[in-house]
Amino acid sequence: MKYLPDMEVINSDMLERVVSEMEGYDYSEFTAEDVKAALRADVLSPRGFQALLSPAAEPFIEELAQRAQAETRKHFGNSVMMFTPVYIANYCENYCIYCGFNCHNKIRRAKLNEEEIEREFIEIAKTGLQEVLILTGESRKMSDVKYIGEACRIARKYFNVIGVEVYPMNSDEYRYLHECGADYVTVFQETYNSDKYETLHLEGHKRIFPYRFYAQERAVMGGMRGVGFAALLGLDDFRKDAFATGYHAYLLQQKYPHAEIAVSCPRLRPIINNESINPKDVHEKQLLQVICAYRLFLPFASITISTRECERFRDNIIKIAATKISGGVSVGIGGHGENGEEKGDEQFDISDGRSVQEVYEAIERAGMQPVMSDYIYV
């Protein structure tokens, strides 16, 4: 797919490397022996990562979880970071058929002005949170870089850690956002299968698969400290997408050793009455398998668990492999105001609506330490 004229092209072969490894990944060839060898390994190779993502690893889910837990403890101790996403606009120029914000969906569109953004931040800061993730729909026209930058500047007044999850940009634009106070960039590739990608993303800039793929690299080039990766598991073959996500992060860290790596694990939920039919469905057990495999392949990475998952799953996964959890989440526009009234509609339904305080207490009950900030802007 061709880049549009204003899109920066960088010199990198990472896309070809990720796609060719992913295409060569035949998970049906892995055996229980391969899984056992991977579980014994001190450092997990890409091939071992493939073994742990294969169906052959499913019977070993308890061992996998125990190994993942030990690895998480080594790198993070008992800490669990807390944050909340803040949606400041839901205008979108893309037509992604699975997303509530897509440009053809008839929802209430809104964009917070600076005053409203500040009011949101004031409300959130009252909960004690120190980290926010600023999100917009993907519309350069309605939410331009300057607008997002202003939101970051305002956020700096109230929070210590600022991430953005917005449309992919050029490296100089990331540099601008970094100067405004943001230091983390998350971009979901959704699926690494470019053919499937085309059938899911029918309109908008997002159609340019490689431009999206190289967003994290451009962000690091622009001076961002950390970058986040994710495939929306269940859009395509989740095992291959999970492998590509981890391998993408792995290669980026090799090329930019100082970059902090984060992985998110969103999934499309299987349709309830269709459970036995689709082998590509991501049930909780498979999601757990993927998260544990991410942990063992990228022991140093921050792993975020979404409010798409329920309280029970989230409270348990932070004991095993996830190290970052949101609380007090609203995925609509302006949902944190005094009466919590939203100006624009939500992106998706959340399954865990607990407040920051409730999540904080749940972390403590799990014997873990809630951490509001482990970061310093320098």
Binding site: R73, K74, N78, Q130, H258, E260, E364, V371, D374, I376
Partner: protein, 259 residues
């Protein structure tokens, strides 16, 4: 005679430095007490601005706070964080951490030495965390460091003294306290480091992730004291390889009369 551990102009009787990351605040207090620690590290990035007082509440009186520069990727950032530590009232001690590898968190000795030089000139008690390299250790010393803090193994791994031979070289060659930091997973490993002649040991993950945090803190305390006592009492000669009763190479010196 009292066995005093000196850092700059400061004197301590405990040789156990405790990390404070990775576990909850109320456990820190118990750990400090059971460890008998007089120095505790504090990551400034964890103690976000305005939050330092809160953490200090959990640290018993009389314990020296050792802020570190974690989060710094180069000398310039480390210096900025050190300045911030002073501003928020953390005193003059600074543990320099310059890390630009997010995977293994290995320190960058080159940047660390640069930061050590700047901060020592500014009057800090500089404690550089480093990879155990003799040349770099000399640079730290010449830069004015108060001690050196070589790693035993990659941080958090609990693998023990993987770098033992190189730490021994530093102990033998560098006339500054050598504090083994990172990688110490068990009291026995801490004891071994002290027997080798390390001036002190620092541990964090090993205690933070123990089933019983206060008890593990106490076990480390005892191990460090045992190792120190053993070092001071000069261990008896232990031959590593089988010794031979006769002198196959030098026996000829006794044969002079036969010529």
């Amino acid at each position: 005679m009292k066995d005093i551990f000196k850092l700059g102009d400061h004197e301590f009787t405990s040789r156990f430095i405790l990390g404070s990351g990775k576990y909850s605040l109320d456990l820190i207090k118990a750990a400090v007490e059971n460890a008998g620690a007089q120095i505790i590290t504090l990551a400034l990035r964890r103690a976000a601005a305005g939050n330092v007082a809160n953490i200090l509440d959990y640290i018993p009186k009389g314990v020296t706070l050792l802020p570190n520069t974690s989060g710094a990727r180069n000398a310039e950032e480390a210096v900025r964080i050190a300045h911030l530590a002073r501003e928020v009232g953390c005193g003059d001690f600074i543990k320099i951490e310059c890390i630009r590898d997010s995977k293994y968190l290995l320190p960058d000795n080159y940047e660390t030495a640069k930061a050590a030089e700047i901060l020592a000139k500014e009057g800090y008690v500089v404690m550089p965390y480093m990879y155990p390299d003799l040349n770099a250790a000399r640079d730290m010393m010449n830069a004015g460091a108060a001690c050196i803090m070589p790693l035993g193994a990659p941080i958090g791994t609990n693998k023990g003294l993987c770098t033992k031979e190189f730490i021994q070289i530093l102990i033998d060659e560098i006339p500054l306290p050598v504090i083994v930091d990172a990688g110490i997973g068990r009291p026995s490993q801490a004891c071994e480091a002290m027997e080798m002649g390390a001036a002190a040991v620092m541990a964090n993950t090993a205690i933070a992730t123990a089933g019983d945090v206060p008890a593990m803190a106490e076990a480390f305390k005892k191990a460090i004291e045992a190792g120190r006592t053993a070092y001071l009492s000069k261990p008896g000669r232990v031959l590593e390889k089988g010794a031979s009763a006769s002198s196959p190479l030098t026996g000829f010196l006794e044969d002079r009369g036969e010529a």
